[in-house]
Symmetry: C2
Subunit: 400 residues, 2 copies
């Protein structure tokens, strides 16, 4: 498997993006009809474009994605549904195919009607879609809201049967990020030139999402517009996919999830939490997410405070089976690692070398916490960030 | 029912408190043996004194409470258990009765051994327990950590059978506050002179805690040391309790819960969320807690931003049954109220009087959000606060 730089513009796909005023608009187009898998938020309030997209994706085929930023078109009633359908009609009018062939989504403030004149103008002025790194980047930039960097990642891998396949994606998301319970948790559009036979496209996507976006925690708020969409163009010439494909898709999703965590609203530090030897994988996932999502752990990371008791407390309320007397806890920066607790015995106590080292590690920009529960073989990793003043600043001043 | 000013020093009870250096110590004593109900955190990591107290409370009787601040005595292994038992022995040595007659707890940093010399010195220097407002206040002050104000409340009420009974409490808690799922969520010691016959003391306490402390959200982190304890001295001369007693206990717990929410770490505003006409009371409670606990709602309250879409999103992910087309949403300050959404129809849109009024209301120091789900008859209220810079400041600099 190798990293490439084309983002969603894998063979058979084009993209374009434009930003103007408070709005942005991105399109991703497959040359031919693509197989489509869609995962959306489990929030009971689902935005209009999410509902429209669920309808369009029902037959498992799509031609492309059209997505806007600046307004979520959520809680906008019947008019909102019309606006989402109109976005698909406008896209079909300019780029071909029928409106039902488009997956549509919007991101931004909730409860305000979409400015369809602005969307129409953006669509008219949008550059011709192209298959290039720059085109993918323009699409990634167009869907940004409080994101500070565009998020794009792609790889190529070789199947066991010899064919080379490509997988790429763009994502957005900085706040309102929480594990999606049932479905997905943010905004990610994935493309591949692989052919994915039968109905496996949904299951390979679900597997990748469980390990990546559903393990990403910024602030614990689950959005109304979360969406992960995979389009498979099928031009790579492969008959089937295999474990190599799944690994590559997992990696693309994990890297994009990491980018979202790193770019968490107001984040100054990246936080990765691995829980191993939990009773089950579900326990490991719950425990890792609880630690990565704990406001007290996040503020301690922000303040470089080696207050590891908060990690223990978060493990304790995560719901995972645990025996405090068996837990081991490790803290790792880029180069240094320290054992804070071994088999239930605290090592990083006042005056110890361990605590001093922990203080040093906590000052780093990338903090890895590993908890070994010694209960079984479950393992999971969660992706998060610290909680600093700027998270408050960004969210206290969002609509005003 | 009438408010009184004695706190835990209801007839038959004395209290004392002392603070020195980084430690504080409080005692509450019943003249005779009291009936005792105890609710503790459902965190799988339970602090040593919580475990010791569970053992002591097993026979349903207690003589008093001894509680320290400055160190949680949590994740401290066998030594921690010994230290907690030693606290009870020291209390029994000075105030009488046997060590097993004391409920014990500690609050502060997790994972560091208690300084027993400091505890012993505090106990020796502690003033003689007295039955007065000042004595209760000294106890309330002694258990403060990041609290900015001591928390104490008391009432007297008359039973239907004519006897007057008193209920009082002191509480602490500012951070690491979250609904306690199964048990309780913070630190509250309650006293009453009423006799509570049979095994009803636990059920009346549970009922009051469900409506108060379990509906209080500051930061979503559930503590390892949470405890609510009710001691019933039985000197009031009543044979039985009735609905008046439950109402009075509910009120004491609710007022103490409100004090905790108002004093949430770094809080600049008080937030109360009522959900009515939910499918069930459980749904109403889940929805109210989700809104009060949402980082995005809390930062919007801090920033006086009428971004009501975040409230809708939080209702949507709360797990409560809801139909976005039926929801109504109201915002209320001390004097003004505005309807943001009526029967699913947004009213507070750009340029409307409703949005202008919402902006004004959001500037107030006390914000009440009411959501009507129009699904049934369930109702619940959650108590919370905003999320501002000072929450980050306090928690980024806690141990260092």
């Amino acid at each position: 498997m190798e990293e490439t730089d084309v983002g969603v513009c894998v063979p058979g796909f084009k993209a374009a993006g434009i930003r103007k005023g408070g709005y942005g608009l991105a399109v991703i187009l497959s040359e031919g009809e693509a197989d489509c898998a869609l995962m959306v938020t489990s929030n009971r309030v689902r935005a209009a474009p999410v509902l429209v997209s669920l309808g369009h994706a029902g037959r498992g085929k799509a031609r492309g994605v059209v997505a806007s930023s600046g307004n979520a078109n959520c809680f906008t009633g019947e008019k909102g549904l019309e606006d989402a359908r109109e976005m698909c009609r406008l896209a079909a009018g300019r780029f071909g195919s029928s409106p039902q062939d488009y997956i549509v989504n919007s991101t931004g403030v909730i409860g305000r009607r979409l400015d369809m004149d602005a969307i129409e103008a953006l669509l008219e002025e949008m550059p011709e879609p192209a298959s290039s790194r720059d085109a993918s980047l323009a699409a990634a930039k167009a869907i940004m809201t409080t994101d500070t960097v565009p998020k794009m990642y792609s790889v190529r891998t070789t199947l066991e049967t010899g064919e080379e396949v490509h997988i790429g994606g763009i994502a957005k998301g900085a706040g309102m990020i929480a594990p999606g319970l049932v479905h997905a948790t943010m905004f990610c559009f994935l493309t591949t030139d692989a052919r994915i036979p039968g109905d496996r496209i949904q299951s390979v996507l679900r597997e990748a999402v469980e390990l990546s976006f559903n393990m990403t925690v910024v602030d614990g708020d689950m959005s109304t517009n979360d969406m992960v969409c995979l389009l498979a163009g099928g031009t790579a010439g492969n008959k089937d996919i295999d474990e190599n494909f799944q690994k590559a898709l997992d990696r693309v999703c994990r890297e994009l999830a990491r980018m979202i965590a790193r770019d968490g609203e107001g984040a100054t530090k990246y936080l990765e939490v691995t829980v191993r030897n939990a009773a089950t994988r579900e326990d490991a996932a719950a425990a890792a997410r609880a630690v990565a999502g704990s406001s007290l752990v996040k503020t301690a990371v922000f303040g470089s405070d080696p207050n590891w008791g908060r990690i223990i407390a978060a493990l304790g309320y995560s719901g995972a089976e645990m025996d405090p007397g068996k837990v081991s806890l490790y803290l790792r920066g880029r180069e240094r690692e320290v054992c804070l607790v071994r088999d239930g015995e605290p090592l990083a106590l006042e005056g110890t070398e361990e605590l001093k080292l922990a203080e040093e590690v906590m000052k780093e920009k990338e903090i890895h916490i590993t908890a070994d529960l010694a209960m079984g073989e479950g393992e999971a990793t969660a992706f998060g960030c610290d909680l600093g003043y700027d998270y408050v600043k960004i969210n206290a001043e969002y609509t005003t």
